[in-house]
Symmetry: C2
């Protein structure tokens, strides 16, 4: 058994069975080793950002790490943007990165690079393997770090000769013990909620799944607290029958106004709310300076348990599911394809249990509001703000949950970073409906220019925020990468195409010219 085989056997015994890969020469023994043990599935991405984003989506849906397999520094670097999102989502991932043989590094061959320097900013755990015999143990440590608690991105760098060198056999993966929930923090939070006149619970991370939401709803009912969520949730369960949360607005002025009346915030899996970007004359902190801030759980603790303990500490009775006051907005039958109409149509069309990967950017807000009344579904958000996430994350979510429909709501600007994911959807026959919001501009940047007081952008500023000249044919891109694709330019066309696309098994793409 060589080092690579010992690693793959170790992975299997830990229940890790998927590897999103874009390998090169220094990873060949690892590629071969995928076939050395039954039950490992290698999935090819044509660009590394597809692999890392897919691992993120897989991790958010299963709480188990997928492996990625990436090539040296430059290959790994292509995966950094979506690892950045995964880090913010606290997704478990084990990156395997090949490196030159140990004796070859000193020669500074063309592909030699400082992989550790590249890996650190997006990895909670990094190790450079140094011997074939250590490889199984190093992998076990990487998997343990990824699985947590706390869950995180772990990166293991493996010289090629340690992959092919002789090894003893697989290693055992131990697990971290969960940190117990801190009772003193729970009591302090319950005191703040009792004391406040206008309290709020800000939910993030796993607090936005059903157990956390139900416990939070009890707390809200008992204290009058508003239920808020992070702007870009890693994974939010929502829809009919689930407690509703208000999403924190994106722009800081709006968020500050949204939070203005609050005098206490209890954080549950979320951090103190801060602006996405700094602006002149606008605070970075969004909550009122006078608001008390408490947290029920720190990183690594089970936030859903903490919320239940908080509800119990408050003697909060069970709550009934929310009533039928949320109704799906009516969708127009005709007219131009504006975000409002698009959002209503999608909310009315999505099946129960859908996983909606939301990177619709400036197009998706109306959809988000409409889908409160949609059947229960899961939303995966743009946690780290690095665009080009939705298509890869959809790949991973579909691999993780083959019985659920995945809908990728993808703005055209962001979609262009990782469009190679479409090919993986086709190859693997994944059940994903891709909806491209094609407004043919970086609309958010045009808004930012206006916010910066640049009323009439000059020719360079216009050119750099505009995706037309020429228009991009997304339906053609989808077809060329193997996904059956259509373009729609009106409400009537979308109404006609959307239901059949969602009903069809396997990948479909609709380019929505908005």
């Amino acid at each position: 058994m060589n080092g690579a085989e010992a690693l793959m056997h170790t992975a299997r015994t830990a229940g890790i069975d998927v590897c999103f890969a874009n390998p090169g020469t220094t990873e060949m023994p690892l590629v071969a080793a995928l076939d050395s043990v039954p039950g490992l599935r290698g999935i090819l991405g044509l660009f590394e950002g597809v692999c890392t984003g897919a691992a993120d989506g897989y991790g958010r849906m299963t709480d188990r790490p997928a492996m990625t397999l990436l090539h040296l520094g430059p290959g790994f670097a292509n995966g950094i943007a979506n690892l950045h999102n995964a880090r913010r989502a606290r997704s478990p991932i084990v990156n395997l990165v090949g490196d030159h043989t140990r004796s070859h590094v000193e020669f500074d061959a063309p592909l030699t690079s400082d992989i550790v320097s590249l890996a650190r900013p997006v990895s909670g755990w990094v190790r450079s393997n140094r011997a074939a015999d250590d490889l199984a143990v190093d992998f076990a440590a990487a998997a343990r770090a990824a699985l947590g608690p706390p869950r995180q991105v772990a990166t293991l760098i493996i010289p090629a000769d340690c992959q092919w060198g002789k090894a003893d056999g697989p290693a055992e993966i131990r697990r971290n013990a969960a940190a117990p929930v801190d009772t003193a923090r729970i009591l302090a939070a319950s005191d703040e909620l009792r004391r406040a006149e206008h309290p709020a619970l800000l939910l993030g991370g796993t607090a936005l799944r059903e157990p956390g939401l139900r416990a939070a709803a009890r707390v809200a009912a008992a204290t009058g607290a508003r239920l808020l969520s992070e702007t870009f949730p890693a994974r939010l369960e929502r829809g009919t029958g689930l407690p509703r949360v208000e999403r924190l607005p994106y722009f800081p002025e709006q968020a500050i106004e949204f939070l203005a009346s609050i005098d206490a915030i209890v954080l549950a899996g979320a951090r103190e709310p801060v602006a996405f970007f700094g602006y002149p004359d606008t605070a970075s902190r969004l909550a009122p300076a006078t608001a008390a801030i408490a947290s029920v759980a720190e990183r690594g603790e089970d936030v859903a348990v903490a919320l239940e303990n908080l509800a119990n500490a408050l003697d909060a009775p069970p709550t009934a599911p929310p009533g039928a006051d949320a109704v799906l907005p009516g969708a127009p039958a005709a007219g131009p394809l504006e975000p409002q109409a698009l959002g209503a149509l999608l909310a009315r069309s999505q099946p129960a249990g859908a996983i909606v990967v939301d990177e619709g950017a400036t197009t998706s807000l109306p959809y988000t509001l409409a889908a409160d009344a949609a059947p229960p579904h899961t939303v995966l958000g743009l946690t780290g703000g690095a665009i080009g996430q939705a298509l890869p994350v959809a790949v991973g979510a579909a691999v993780a949950c083959p019985d659920r429909k995945v809908i990728a709501l993808q703005a055209d600007g962001g979609g262009l970073y990782t469009l190679q994911a479409l090919w993986t959807l086709a190859r693997e026959g994944l059940d994903v409906t891709v909806l491209i919001c094609s407004n043919r501009r970086y609309r958010i940047l045009q808004i930012e220019l206006a916010r910066a007081g640049i009323a009439e952008p000059g020719p360079n500023a216009q050119s750099l925020t505009d995706l037309s000249r020429p228009d991009i044919d997304w339906a053609g891109l989808g077809s060329s990468l193997g996904v059956p694709s259509r373009r729609v330019e009106s409400v009537a066309e979308l109404a006609r195409e959307l239901a059949p696309a969602i009903a069809a098994p396997g990948p479909r793409l609709i380019e929505m010219v908005v």
Copy 2:
């Protein structure tokens, strides 16, 4: 004048006039400032690797830096692979990377990232600007570092508030003095050449341009030295009338055999030859252990001058241009489209003065051999081995040299990493013929699997090295991104399509199914 405007004025006074950009919110004042001074051209890439590769191509052809404009850590990270190639090509580039406002960093907002850690591995020079008033001076230092000598990649990180903050005005860009050529080194090299029975000159960097080549040819004629070039030259001038060089083979066994009889190597702008990757039982050093090694110039010295001094030290007379012994191979009129036929057809079709960006991978060797007898042309090679270079570098070469035809010979696997470059070709109307070598596999990895003794790859190894299922429609991708595109599947079809595509002004794409 704000900091961003002071920076752009400084750039203009230094003759920097192109900015390959993919900006985000933290770069908006820099985007606006591109319109604050006449003569700056912002060129949009839809993915950061397009911008950095374009800056590399521009730098190789002009010896002047283009700017790139990139967004925080994840955006910069998307540009790293082609910056890696640029670093190996010693291209001058100034990266401008926006960052959060100085006061916003501590809040660890979603896009906060360790940009310095990401930038260092690909940047010879990195600085984090700290004040609007320093921005022009910091930019001047970045430009000086990029311009060299030695030329290099320089990365300047700029907080958003320093971009919009008040600044005094532009700064002056000083230049490094060229290091004088070291006479002792020249004399030592000439001694080695005189002493050796089978000497060779290994040329790299700027030694592969016409002055260096002509001086090297004098040395070769006087000493009997073979003229060799690096495997992946940054920029090689070749074709009829230019001294011919032998290209060092890629695989180490072949390279070792190629160098076996040599007893002295004089390096000129190149480093000691080492294998691209380490393999079991194969040395990393390619030259015989007994061969003497000398170098005529170190980094930062003018290698063409050094070669002329060497020729003079050897009393080498001027040489006549090489005779007509190199003849273009005949091209078949029909048959399957194999690399041999493709290479002959291309070598016969390329116009004088063409710039050939070569990332044909396993397809391009026959072309390389055939083009010795083509009209004078420039070859830009895959210096760092990070695939996905040719299309972006073609963008930059075409912007740099609007009067020359650019031909991008791009393998399909590598092309998929940065296919977004096709759209920039279309938007800017660049005179580039894109030739996709579509063998629908990672052929090099299949070769590496075989070299590793894996005669019958398992299903995962097969799947991860195969680009079919589904086949990718490159002609469709090109058309969808705005480039008139065709697919050819035989010699006859390529013979019919190639000349008109090259003759047409502006971008064209031919997918060659090989």
